[in-house]
């Protein structure tokens, strides 16, 4: 696993080189959403919309009607909370090829409740015609653009930025509705998404050492979600299922997996790690992940509950993450 920096910023410039129909819209968060290099490279294809997300989203709808493919960039909260009606009526209803890039998912910002998108997946996947992706690493940030532009209609991409890990092979790109099977195992199935996937990867070796075979599936498409990989993993887990997400446990990954279980008539325990019906507050990523129970140790606790015995895994046995720990008392990500 390597650590990468400003992946979207550089990749978008190269990727969009031969795509004159791609326009980037920004609402005063151009560097913060890593489109500053695009702005400098293609000033004619960059549209500054100011701090006015509702107008920006409807303008994107108008541009898409004329054959352009608008890439709307802002923080996720300002898309689905501020401009939900505009997304629904100016973009989703007419099934226009507008690609919405929402940054700062969940607790990945120290900006507190105003900046933390904790229910975006739930809201966006409820919208008819909308496709919903989430990036988990550098490989997915690089390849999600191809996946998004291939969709005939609007796409919401839950994006990560800044220093991010590369968890997946660079030659295994993001594919719509194709969960990544990172590990097979017959005892429990662990579904993870976004920044939580690395947390699960950190604990799998320790679980195996204790005789617990865990299947690990990384989910990067929340809609559509028809892949048999999901149901097969559920069916193969003898003790039950764990979900880990940087989102409320209502409406996101846990709900999605539960829906698939019910559809298939598979009744199993499902333990959901994620934010539980609460707003959060400002703080560093590691601190907030621990507080809300969506980190490596929370996964271990859930697996212990499912298999019905303590596993006695000390913190020291959990392998280190790719990103350095947040220095105490000074959250690392700037706004």
């Amino acid at each position: 696993m390597e650590r990468c920096s400003r992946v979207h910023a550089r990749h978008l410039v190269e990727w969009a080189k031969d795509k004159p129909e791609v326009l980037v819209l920004s609402a005063d968060l151009t560097s913060s959403t890593e489109v500053d290099l695009f702005r400098d490279a293609y000033p004619d294809r960059f549209i500054s919309a100011g701090i006015a997300e509702q107008n920006m989203v409807s303008v994107a709808g108008g541009l898409a009607r004329e054959g352009y493919i608008p890439f709307v960039h802002t923080f996720a909260v300002f898309l689905y909370r501020r401009a939900c009606d505009q997304i629904a009526m100016s973009v989703a209803y007419p099934n226009l090829p507008v690609k919405l890039f929402g940054f700062l998912p969940g607790i990945t910002t120290p900006g507190g409740a105003t900046h933390q998108a904790i229910e975006d997946i739930a809201v966006m996947r409820l919208l008819p015609n909308m496709t919903v992706f989430e990036c988990g690493d550098a490989t997915e940030v690089e390849s999600v653009l191809d996946a998004a532009i291939a969709v005939n209609g609007p796409v919401y991409v839950r994006m990560i930025r800044g220093d991010i890990p590369r968890l997946f092979d660079a030659d295994k790109p993001f594919v719509c509705d194709k969960p990544r099977v990172l590990r097979k195992g017959a005892d429990v199935a662990v579904f993870s998404s976004g920044i939580c996937t690395e947390e699960v990867m950190r604990v799998i070796p320790a679980l195996e050492k204790r005789g617990v075979a865990a299947a690990h599936i990384h989910m990067s498409t929340f809609k559509p979600c028809k892949s048999p990989i999901v149901t097969e993993a559920i069916a193969g887990a003898s003790y039950g299922v764990v979900t880990v997400e940087n989102h409320l446990t209502n409406g996101g990954l846990a709900t999605l997996v539960a829906e698939r279980m019910v559809e298939c008539g598979t009744v199993k325990r499902l333990l959901a790690c994620g934010i539980r019906d609460t707003f959060s507050h400002g703080g560093g990523r590691a601190y907030l992940m621990k507080e809300h129970g969506l980190d490596a140790s929370a996964v271990i606790r859930a697996v212990e509950t499912l298999v019905g015995r303590p596993l006695d895994i000390p913190e020291s046995e959990i392998s280190a993450g790719v990103l350095p720990d947040t220095p105490k008392g000074s959250p690392s990500e700037a706004l």
Binding site: Q54, L63, R65, N129
Partner: protein
């Protein structure tokens, strides 16, 4: 298309179209037991002038007959049809029309019929289950091109279309019909500042300033004055004119300097042409009949329209 009196010019035609809009909307309001009638009364001349004089739209050929509702847009709906067909085939040179307050749909349908774009039999399907001729228009409804029933989104979508057309070097303009209540909405102002900042000199708006909204007179709900100076401060070229004067309405567009987005504030009256409606002040948003007397008074108004039309065509 008929003409009023001896005025064979566009002025006569526009006046005749305006009268036809009021007549048809009144007819359907009586038939349905209610409707968005005051919107037709206030906007009749604006729509008539836009369609007969201001907008450069290609003719659709023969008047189109609306079909059944063919499903919402989606990746798997290849049968989807847009109401923009009624405004003629799309090309680089011609203008485009966006109706922002979709509650004016019936007035728009009437305008399309009066200008030979929609078959008059199409109104028989108005507000019927399974019809595309919806009460509050959607983008499959005749004359409509975008989803605008949620107020304030029409101008932004039109700005996106105008920006795209400017980028593509198209000469056609984008015309938006708006209601004054929409200037209470934050998004409207975001759109005006966006259009001004991005130099969208190919977007023009006609605003039906009838001074009333759902709850009553705008000043009693939340005032928007001085609308002209506010818009100018946001970067628009603003023309205020009497909204039932077809000559002044048309001049507002022809005298447009073309250096900034144009906003025409058409000062109108929600009972214009149907005087008896005035008694309902301040509630004009949706006209219902509470008594037989109310129904009869509007039936009388319809009768006088019919007499007038017969006299002139005879």
């Amino acid at each position: 298309m008929r003409t009023v009196g001896n005025e064979a010019s566009w002025i006569g035609i526009a006046k005749c179209v305006a009268r036809g809009i009021r007549y048809r909307v009144l007819f359907h309001t009586l038939e349905a037991g209610g409707g968005y009638l005051s919107q037709a009364c206030s906007s009749a001349e604006i729509l008539a002038v836009m369609y007969t004089k201001v907008m450069r739209l290609p003719a659709p050929g023969s008047p189109l007959l609306p079909g059944a509702f063919r499903g919402v847009p989606g990746p798997n709906n290849r049968d989807y049809t847009t109401g923009a067909l009624y405004n003629g085939p799309r090309d680089a040179e011609h203008d485009r029309f966006i109706l922002s307050p979709a509650h004016y749909a019936l007035a728009l349908y009437a305008a399309l019929i009066e200008t030979g774009r929609m078959h008059e039999a199409g109104l028989r399907d108005f507000n019927k289950d399974g019809s595309s001729v919806e009460m509050i228009g959607a983008e499959h409804s005749p004359g409509m091109e975008v989803m605008t029933g949620s107020l304030g989104q029409g101008i932004s979508q039109a700005a996106g279309i105008a920006l795209a057309r400017k980028k593509k070097g198209e000469s056609g303009k984008v015309w938006v019909f708006m209601s004054d209540g929409e200037f209470q909405i934050g998004q409207t102002w975001e759109a005006v500042e966006f259009a001004a900042y991005h130099g969208l000199t190919n977007i023009g708006m006609y605003v039906d300033v009838n001074s009333y909204q759902c709850d009553g007179k705008i000043d009693s709900v939340m005032g928007i004055d001085p609308l002209d100076r506010r818009l100018e401060a946001f970067g628009a070229e603003v023309v205020s004119c009497p909204g039932h004067d077809v000559v002044r309405l048309a001049a507002a567009a022809s005298e447009w300097k073309g250096e900034r987005p144009l906003v025409v504030l058409a000062q109108t009256v929600p009972w214009q042409g149907i005087e008896v409606l005035r008694q309902r002040e301040p509630k004009f948003h949706y006209i219902r009949f509470h008594t037989d007397e109310e129904r009869q008074s509007l039936a009388d108004a319809l009768q006088s329209y019919e007499t007038e039309i017969e006299r002139e065509s005879g």
